[in-house]
């Protein structure tokens, strides 16, 4: 597009992937996000200093912060995303539910506003019926989201939910929602320009979640028939229109087993899982976002889009499946991405990258496309087996487990799938290699240093050191 991107970075990210791979980058502060990526005025002045015309917020940190967007708008820069007004309307989950309710979009039963006290929470929960969920009003992405099964555990969980909400979003307001059991999380990508054109880019099935965090997403959903798709996407476009939305956004729905759907929330930004939509539609969403922000019209009409094939995305996190999925930190000593037709990697690491404790542990996103779901699953499973990230622990084995599971393969799963099925991760059941090979590898791993390296010429060494000059 002829655009020169400028990135911002914190102390911990001086050497991070996003910093390295932009031609220009501006330092904005300390390693803690509160000292850098959440400093609104600093980011805006960095953009001005670099002579940037617009700010793309990505999908973390301030991307859904209406105050930040308003500051960008008032600074004379362009925000690549919705207006602060739309974000404010949809940003508070309680206000958004009210708006949707008025606009005829079905919502899940729950409280309309933030919970002020334990007593109030108990009363509301009794009205709605357990189990209930606490959700952060300013939140998203699973953070500040807690299940309560009965009144006994309510007080403790409310405290924890408020604490997480405060830490993650700077706002401890939480509300209550009825927990719909065995639901599917299905969302619709919408997009609109400044000229009043709206379109949807079909649904994404995001029911494979752990701790309310999506880990595998696919499009189209096996669960959605043509009629439901028509209703769902039309409700999504109505939702976007209700808040005068411009740019790319996502309407998240809970869908019950009878295909009734309920508005969950709107993500007023690009989603982590946008690649699956790009695969099946051929639309580059980020390119489209930039065009829209520049005042251009949507580059396509709704009726030009059709679902082409099937795509899956797996999120790769630095966490240890064998140890309660605790985050894993360290240096990536080897990063080898899978490659081939219909394979895409959106990576944030390279050989030598440091995975720090400061930010979200997502390392990379692997997505695959094929003409049908069966082909997509086979392709992404092989790609995961061939994806090497050594030096930190990752959730790749969990992802392989998901792709091998009969429930996933049949398409009959809901958001409790992993919680219900992934009781114990057993190594011996999960690899096709015979056990004795592992013993040999272990023995040779210790013996290996005695052997010649890659023939005569293959020795990898740090050539820079030979350049040393004193």
């Amino acid at each position: 597009m002829g655009i020169i991107p400028v990135s911002v970075f914190s102390d911990a990210d001086k050497n991070a992937y996003h910093t390295i791979w932009t031609d220009e980058s501006v330092h904005i502060g300390g390693s803690k996000s509160s000292e850098s990526y959440l400093r609104m005025e600093k980011i805006i002045s960095a953009a001005k200093e670099a002579g940037a015309e617009a700010i793309h917020p990505g999908y973390g940190f301030l991307s859904e912060n209406a105050d930040f967007i308003q500051m960008v708008e008032e600074s004379g820069l362009v925000f690549i995303g919705p207006s602060s007004k739309s974000v404010r309307m949809m940003g508070s989950k309680t206000a958004a539910r009210e708006l949707m309710s008025k606009s005829g979009v079905p919502i899940v039963p729950g409280t309309k506003k933030g919970i002020e006290s334990v007593e109030e929470a108990k009363n509301e929960a009794l009205k709605i019926g357990y189990p209930i969920l606490f959700k952060a009003s300013a939140g998203g992405g699973g953070k500040g989201l807690k299940r309560v099964n009965n009144e006994d555990e309510l007080a403790d969980i409310l405290e924890s939910a408020k604490r997480e909400a405060k830490n993650a979003f700077g706002d401890d307001t939480v509300y209550i929602e009825k927990l719909i059991e065995e639901p599917r999380h299905i969302e619709v990508q919408v997009i609109s320009d400044k000229h009043g054109n709206y379109a949807h880019l079909f649904e994404r099935e995001c029911s494979v979640q752990r701790r309310h965090q999506k880990i595998v997403e696919e499009s189209p959903s096996t669960f959605i028939d043509q009629k439901t798709r028509a209703n769902l996407t039309s409700a999504a476009v109505s939702a976007a229109k209700a808040c005068g939305y411009v740019n790319a956004g996502t309407i998240e729905f809970l869908v019950d087993k009878n295909k009734n759907f309920y508005f969950l929330e709107m993500n007023t930004r690009l989603q982590v899982e946008h690649p699956v939509t790009e695969w099946i539609t051929g639309i580059d969403l980020v390119k489209e976002q930039i065009r829209i922000a520049a005042g251009e019209k949507l580059s396509f009409a709704q009726d030009e889009l059709k679902i082409n094939g099937h795509a899956i995305e797996c999120r790769i996190y630095a966490e240890d499946p064998a140890n309660n999925f605790l985050p894993s930190t360290g240096v990536i000593n080897y990063h080898k991405m899978p490659q081939g037709p219909g394979i895409r990697v959106d990576e944030g690491i390279d050989t030598g990258s440091n995975v720090s404790v400061y930010y979200d542990p997502m390392l990379s996103k692997l997505s695959c496309w094929s003409r049908n779901r069966e082909g997509s699953i086979a392709k992404i499973r092989t790609a995961l087996q061939n994806y090497i990230i050594s030096g930190v622990r990752t959730n790749i084995s969990l992802l392989i487990w998901v792709l091998n599971h009969s429930a996933f393969n049949s398409g009959m799963y809901d958001i409790n799938f992993i919680e219900k099925e992934y009781l114990k991760y057993s190594l011996t059941e999960e690899t096709s290699q015979p056990g004795e090979i592992h013993k040999i590898i272990a023995a040779l791993s210790r013996e290996a240093a005695k052997l010649p390296i890659n023939g005569k010429n293959g020795k990898i060494q740090n050539e820079w050191e030979l350049l040393k000059y004193d």
Binding site: K143, N323, N333, Y358, S390, E436, I441, A442, L451
Partner: protein, 170 residues
Amino acid sequence: MTELIINDGKSEEIVLILSDDELLLGGQKLKYEIYQVNPYFKLLRIGSKNYRFALCDREEKSVGYLTEGHYFRYSVQTRLEKAIDEITSHQKESQKIFDVKSPMPGLVLKIKKRSGDIVQANESVLILEAMKMENDIKSPSSGIIKELLADEKQSVEKGTLLFRIEQLTN
């Protein structure tokens, strides 16, 4: 020739490395070839089968590696190392004490138990905040909390000893 005792946490097996291309496992002599592709990635060939593996991490007596997307950790010791280990750890063994260290740098948010409390295996002892998430640190075994070394609001480094569990003997 090197004799190595391989332990996967369940059982032990002996691998005899006879030479640079021959080894003995479970009474079976096997020809092998090994190639180092780059510093962290190797190819093992046995017969016509290829096995790719990457070195992931390494501790004093064990190696952790990655193959087919799966992580494995085995302890690898010579007979002598194992003998020394057994003697020095004999006393400890009979006590069965589990040291729980911080798996990453973070902030101790809340301590749920006290020293002397009886806990079940997998029961949460404290909450560690790291990578913007609250992480439950659980007891690896049922037993008594012998020491609780962390304080609430304390910042801890990776490897900091958080608490010790003494397994109850029946």
